[in-house]
């Protein structure tokens, strides 16, 4: 992750009161304990920092392997990703690419606003 990307993502995460962690290799943000209404009270979610961020839009989300939310939330499960010592399952969830959120604009959107998309995602059955 370049210093500029790290500075930007860190600044975005400082804007939210939720517990988060920025990890590297792969570059990603982990949101801890996001609330859900789909059979579990909360879940951790990992979101990859796209190459070329922030112009490249944030897209997709990953749930912990064996999460009961996989197959329940919107989006097709895909491959697995190892990050921060855990295994995550990638879910094809695309809020800013026709998925209901406004078109991506890096002067307004970022990991701080993606939190809202994730909270709504974890509360709507597919």
């Amino acid at each position: 992750m370049t210093p500029e990307v790290k500075a930007r993502v860190s600044a975005e995460l400082e804007k939210v009161s939720w517990k988060t962690k920025l990890v590297e290799n792969p570059d990603a943000v982990i949101y801890y304990g996001l609330p859900s209404t789909l059979g579990v009270s909360s879940s951790d979610v990992l979101v990859l920092v796209p190459g070329g961020y922030a112009q490249s839009m944030i897209d997709g989300a990953c749930l912990p392997q064996a999460s009961s939310l996989i197959g329940v939330v919107k989006g097709q499960p895909g491959g697995t990703i190892a990050a921060d010592g855990r295994t995550w399952v990638s879910i094809s969830y695309h809020p800013h690419n026709g998925g209901g959120a406004p078109g991506w604009d890096p002067t307004r959107h970022g990991f701080h606003t993606y939190l809202d998309e994730l909270v709504s995602w974890l509360s709507v059955r597919r």
């Binding site: 370049t2 500029e4 796209p50 190459g51 961020y53 112009q55 026709g98 604009d105 890096p106 002067t107």
Partner: protein
């Protein structure tokens, strides 16, 4: 670290015309005999060769901040503390600018040494930023400005060598007093005609101008060609590609001879354009970067130039140059070319010119960035392939395939028109660098196939609260709001 170093790396000061005007009105307010001063906020970008500092704003003195009973500058403690707290709050750097009396030199006095040795340790203690700069200005009875400056950033010392002032009607590069005579390039005979039209001062300004051209192909090469013939002697070229045979149709300076050893052995586009410039003016100083404007090596070279001309017509370059304009005070002229056809006939050969400058709207404010296209431009081939595969699977499931992948059609362009738009960009660059003329609008487009060229032009404003309004001059200290970065799959940029 010694306060006076004989040879220190160079520093370039960048300032907007509006701030410069306020600065001069303030520090010369007790002229011709008495000095005056102000603290100022600035951003920085340190490069391997030196540093660029960008003036964000003045922290103007209030009543009692400076001692008005003496003819020299005496800064009172509440003023320095107020400035230090402002620095800490805004995550920027603080320096001081003061005047010397009319017709006096601008070399630091022993009192200036005392002041700087105190402030260079005082201000870095507030907040994270460690740079401090001290500038001295004077004005002759004829109105000529002289200046000098020095600065420190953690373990490096710098000497101010140049100042670039950017306003909407002129971009002016001036040299620090100690270097004033040696730094200017001598007259160029090729400029005789240009001198007749625009005058000797304009010709000198072009010789001393530093211009970046992003993209060395259909639009970038004629831009470079026209600027070289106008006498611009310092050019940075940025392009990642090798010359291909199809480029012969539009790349100025390319010939069949470049493929004498086969297409595999063809030169880089930046080398072809460099050779074209050098063939016109062997004295030209051309820096060739094989890479992309998003990469740090390119940025290190671009931030010291007067003006960028962006000739790639890509969303990521457009975003990058519009961000460089407000964060680093490097203005830009961005070009675009579109062809349209119907029933086998051309209906549109459309050119677009956009001017980005500090205080003006960015590419997002103007609605000139397509988010999906921008994302695709920065994707690796592997990711594009994966997304195409996922789109096919989504289609089979009856899901929205467009959420995974949408094709982005490439629109080909041809040489006669890219040459025209490149020459147009060079024209406006010449006008801006000499202060002789400006484009009719900061954004305009035209279609050469229609009556009156279907001209559409406007001068828009920034959206309220946009970064382009809030981060003017923040340079590297505005990284927390950077709009774009180089994706990791790109090969590293290099100089050739």
């Amino acid at each position: 670290m010694a306060l006076r170093q004989k040879v220190a790396p160079p520093a370039v000061l960048r300032i907007t015309g509006a701030v410069r005007e306020r600065l001069e009105a303030l520090i010369f307010s007790r002229y011709p005999d008495k000095e005056w001063a102000t603290f100022f906020l600035f951003g920085t970008r340190e490069t391997p060769d030196g540093v660029v500092i960008t003036v964000v704003d003045l922290i103007e003195p209030k009543e009692g901040d400076l001692d008005s009973t003496t003819s020299i500058v005496r800064l009172n403690e509440p003023y320095s503390l107020r400035s230090a707290l402002e620095k800490q709050k805004r995550g920027l750097c603080v320096g001081v600018i003061h005047s010397h009396p009319q017709n006096c030199g601008v070399f630091p006095s022993a009192l200036d040494d005392d002041m700087d040795s105190y402030f260079k340790d005082y201000f870095p203690a507030f907040g994270k930023e460690g740079a401090y700069f001290s500038l001295i200005f004077s004005r002759t009875a004829e109105g000529d400005i002289r200046f000098s400056g020095r600065g420190w950033s953690v373990d490096r010392a710098f000497q101010l060598t140049e100042m670039v002032t950017v306003s909407s009607d002129v971009i002016q590069r001036e040299y620090a007093w100690a270097k004033s005579s040696s730094a200017r390039n001598s007259a160029n005979e090729c400029q005789a005609r240009l001198e007749e039209v625009y005058g000797a001062e304009a010709a000198a300004r072009l010789r001393n101008a530093h211009v970046t051209i992003i993209g060395a192909s259909g639009t970038g090469s004629p831009t470079a060609h026209a600027l070289a013939r106008a006498g611009v002697e310092n050019i940075v070229l940025i392009d990642p590609q090798k010359l291909g045979k199809s480029n012969l149709e539009r790349l100025h300076g390319s010939y069949n001879a470049h493929f004498a050893k086969g297409e595999e052995e063809a030169p880089l586009k930046v080398e072809v354009v460099r050779d074209l410039i050098k063939a016109i003016n062997p004295e030209a100083n051309v820096t060739c970067i094989v890479g992309n404007i998003l990469q740090p090596l390119a940025r290190d070279h671009v931030v010291g130039t007067d003006l960028i001309i962006c000739c790639t017509d890509t969303n990521h370059s457009r975003t990058a140059v519009s961000e460089l304009a407000y964060r680093y005070l490097v203005p830009a002229i961005d070009t675009g070319v579109v062809f349209e056809s119907k029933d086998g006939l051309m209906t549109g050969e459309i050119g677009r010119i956009t001017v980005y400058l500090p205080g003006g709207p960015c590419a997002y404010c103007l609605g000139l960035v397509d988010s999906w296209r921008a994302t695709v431009e920065l994707m690796s081939e592997e990711e594009k392939e994966r997304r195409r595969r996922e789109a096919k699977e989504a289609e089979k499931r009856g899901d929205n395939a467009g959420a995974y992948w949408k094709d982005v059609p490439e629109i080909p362009t041809v040489g006669h028109f890219t040459s025209m738009v490149g020459a147009l960009a060079a024209s406006y660059a010449i006008g801006w660098l000499t202060g002789k003329f400006t484009p009719p609008n900061r954004y305009f487009e035209f279609n050469i196939l229609n009556p009156d060229f279907d001209y559409v032009g406007f001068d828009a404003r920034s959206r309220s609260g946009c970064y382009c309004e809030k981060l003017i001059g923040h340079a590297d200290q505005g990284a927390h709001a950077s709009l774009i970065s180089a994706p990791p799959h790109w090969p590293p940029a290099r100089l050739v």
